[in-house]
Amino acid sequence: MSLLNLTIAQASAALAAKKFSAVELTAAHNAAIAALNPRLNAYITTTPELALAQAQAADARIAAGTATPLTGIPLAIKDLFCTAGVRTTAASKILEPFIPPYESTVTRQLLEAGTICLGKANLDEFAMGSSNITSGYGPVENPWKRNGSDAKLVPGGSSGGSAAAVAARLALGATGTDTGGSIRQPASFTGLAGIKPTYGRCSRYGIVAFASSLDQAGPMARTVEDCAILLGAMAGFDPHDSTSAERAVPDFTAATGRGVKGLRIGIPAEYRMDGMSGEISALWEKGVAWLREQGAEIVDISLPHTKYGLAVYYIVAPAEASSNLARYDGVRFGKRVDGEDLIDMYERTRAAGFGPEVKRRIMIGTYVLSHGYYDAYYLKAQKVRNLILRDFNNAFEKVDAILTPTAPSAAFGLGEKMDDPVTMYLNDVFTVPASLAGVPAMSIPAGLSAEGLPLGLQVIGKHFDEETVFAVSAALERAAGFTALPSVRAE
């Protein structure tokens, strides 16, 4: 029995039944990482000894009968989550020497549930990117290949390392964060399920901030059910995060079995973009048919401000980022490059520590907040953001969930779309509106492109109604019967 090609639910049952131990499960993953990570670069930092120690503790817990469904489950942790005693880089050179003395709330809750940390997964620098090529620690290779081609493809981003690790069987699941699509788009590119929960569902405490009003943690895994199990442990109110919601965490796993009979599913006209590829729209049609067959009612809806989503996003997110990243100044932690005086030290430290995409966004953000431009950019963007939120609120008076494609294309090649940042930004066109509105959204693998690459569908739900999102996603998953595997994977 392969210990690598399991779902979390299967592994959990097998651990409970003592078919294998957490130490065996972890050792198998450690070995797989040792073999494949040098190629895929999915992890920036691996923690095999820590993982084994945690696995021993998990086995003790299983033996003592105090295990949770996640006890002994090996995970990849996106290197944006601060982990006590384990280097946390945000894929930036500026944090290369940074070892946090504290644990993020989300990873603390996962550790308390008994999960095992295999290592810190690669990402776009400070989560800024859609292809994982902006990482200061090298790009991640997507374990999927086009039919008959060995060309390296990107895993999507920013949670590209998390996605590649789970897809290539280097972890059973992973944490991701999503600011404009950073969980959903890489999930779509690597044949995984991934959910960005409602803004406020998970604590942001201890997660290196990119854009505070958009950042949300969420799980990535091989099935909808696995995501539900993980999110159950990650979510919850945290007094350390004023924007986390004081709400009970529902039983997400139970919600995956609800079915869609009688649910109204909205199909937004504005997501039918000009030039959308035929296979993306065909897949979308399939999704509609699958839900209809299972008893859902399909409703045409309008989200009229969708077309402004990207523009708004690329003002709001860089604005917040420009401020959030001011703390990386070489004074208290992380990298420092000495200079003639304070200003010179700042300039040298930040010039050496930040990569080009991060610098670009800091400049955009500084510009849109500056005197004389604030009203025209930032304030206007906030107003349009409200209109986008209103679009969703209006739509959700008529429907229970919305179905769209996750990304406009399948994974693209490393080196493609690299000339023009704006082309790259278009990757997020379907994912950004839900981020701006703060509503939950999930990507599930729904089929393969003609070239043999996974394609995802996106289910968007009402604020704090992840349960319906899970129900619809699970229905799509059952109908799609997605069983394809990436060509590069640990066996």
Binding site: F81, C82, T88, A90, L95, F98, P100, P101, Y102, S104, R204, Y205, G206, I207, V208, A209, A211, S212, S213, P239, H240, D241, S242, T243, A319, E320, S322, S323, L325, A326, R327, D329, V331, R332, F333, L342, I343, Y346, T366, L369, S370, H371, Y374, Y378
Partner: protein, 483 residues
């Protein structure tokens, strides 16, 4: 008589507004659990939030919010039930996040009003524009190491209230009176200790000058002035500078200046062109601050009596002059001390004793109202001895000095030294007879119309009686025997 300055081209009026930064009294900082105590070893009171570590988030301290609301209520200001925090972005080594969390568009407290009293007794109202909450920065020190600067983040994140006045101040005296009044109100409320030496209160002073009837001219801001006296000096020095600029054909440029107390002048720090672009935007890590009316009402109900009201009550309840009441309410502890002694006694007499001999003794001995030269009970006993005519006022002064010196109770001193007042008229008459007999020439002068000598005779009688004669009875007896 309004304050003005004479220049070569005529009379100038001074226009001034103050931004007072007052450190909030609270256990912990505005957005973290670290201690807000003054002092301590460098960087002893710093949490990861204060130090701006990755992933750290601010959480508002409820007590700091309550303190701001109390202060707003004390300033008779509007309390905004919805307010918001913003980020003020700039780089400095002692500003860990690269931004200060402050309130820009939507402060927690809106317009209010403060009453100040000038030397000539005039009462003037100074408008409050707003009060907002913000974090303090840390401290950079450049003189601790040959080539490095060192940073102490103990203060980083401590809550400050910025209290902004309208440009209603027209003289150094008004500026001083306003600052003292704000300090007094805050101390009464227990929201700021007002300690300017330790930096828990400091002021940015905005000054401009104009000719009568003009609109406001360009103002300059003098940053971080840290005493009442310096604020008063800075207003005058800056006004004189601006008058000279205008009168020599120049133009005052809007800029930030520093006051140099050693030279008694202000100098330019940075001009408007070099001013920071703070790139304010709403703090996304905090939700808008929403107060319930009931929360505000509860704080209002528990507000202490404030100096203005206390002063009026003292006038009414104790029938003491307005001026005296002002002296007594200057510090809450003094007012409490006064009331504890005045209750059930001759309140006017108590007021005179406290503002006279008691304060003099306090200053002379370097003590304070919290550690007074004589206790309230002892002073009360002394007043009782005067009121029941056991001793007269003259003897009481001696007894008081003895009390300060030895700590003995006045009753005991009077008994031990036999200082009881003599009210026996025959003893007084005998003393008068003796004095008149010893001064036949003065008696003759008096009788020929030199009325002023009356006091001389009374003094001589008192002296003869070792000061123990009842003054009223002595007066009467002298008058009677002189015919």
């Amino acid at each position: 008589m309004a304050y003005s300055l004479e220049g070569k081209t005529g009379t100038w009026e001074v226009v001034c507004g103050l931004e007072i930064h007052a450190q909030v009294i609270s256990e912990s900082k505005l957005f973290s659990g670290a201690s807000a105590t003054y002092g301590g070893a460098p960087n002893a009171h710093v949490s990861f939030v204060d130090a701006g570590f990755p992933g750290m988030l601010p959480v508002i301290n409820r007590e700091c919010v309550a303190q701001a609301v109390r202060t707003g209520l004390g300033l008779k200001a509007q309390i905004n039930l919805v307010s918001r925090f913003d980020r003020k972005n700039y780089f400095y080594a002692d500003l860990p996040n690269g931004y200060q969390i402050s309130q820009f568009d939507h402060p927690i407290v809106g317009t209010g009003d403060v009453e100040i009293e000038l030397q000539d007794g005039t009462i003037k109202h100074i408008g409050i524009t707003r009060l907002h909450l913000e974090q303090d920065a840390g401290k950079s020190m450049h003189d601790q190491h040959a080539s490095k600067s060192v940073i102490d983040l103990n203060r980083a994140g401590v809550a400050l209230m910025e209290i902004v006045s309208e440009p209603d101040i027209r003289s150094p005296e008004e500026a001083g009176a306003y600052l003292r009044k704000i300090r007094q109100i805050l101390r009464y409320l227990g929201t700021c200790d007002g300690n300017m030496e330790e930096g828990s209160m400091r002021a940015d002073v905005n000054v401009s000058v104009r000719k009568a009837g003009e609109d406001f001219r360009t103002r300059c801001e003098i940053k971080n002035v840290n005493s009442v006296r310096f604020v008063m000096h800075a207003v005058e020095a800056e006004a004189l500078r601006q008058i000279e600029v205008w009168e020599s054909g120049g133009e005052v440029r809007q800029e930030t200046r520093l006051y140099d107390p050693a030279r008694g002048e202000t100098r330019s720090m940075r001009s408007k062109e070099d001013a920071h672009d703070y790139r304010y935007f709403p703090e996304p890590d905090l939700l808008p601050l929403v107060l319930e009316e009931e929360f505000v009402a509860r704080l209002k109900a528990k507000l202490p009596e404030l100096p203005d009201e206390k002063r009026r009550r003292f006038c009414d309840e104790y029938a003491i002059p307005f001026y005296d009441a002002g002296v007594l309410v200057a510090e809450q502890a003094t007012a409490d001390f006064y009331e504890s002694v005045a209750k059930g006694r001759d309140a006017r007499l108590v007021a005179n004793w406290i503002s006279g001999d008691f304060f003099a003794a306090m200053n002379r001995t370097g003590r304070s109202i919290e550690n007074p030269p004589v206790s309230g009970a002892a002073l009360g006993e002394l007043i009782d001895l005067i009121s029941d005519k056991t001793i007269n006022g003259r003897i009481a002064k001696d007894v008081f000095e003895e009390m300060v010196e030895t700590g003995a109770m006045p009753g005991a001193i009077v008994e031990a030294k036999g200082l009881r007042q003599v009210t026996d008229t025959s003893a007084i008459d005998a003393a008068v007879t003796q004095v008149l007999a010893a001064n036949p020439d003065k008696v003759a002068e008096y009788k020929s119309g030199k009325d002023k000598l009356f006091g001389f005779f009374v003094g001589q009688v008192m002296k003869a009686m070792q000061g123990k004669g009842n003054p009223a009875l002595v007066n009467e007896a002298v008058k009677a025997q002189l015919g």
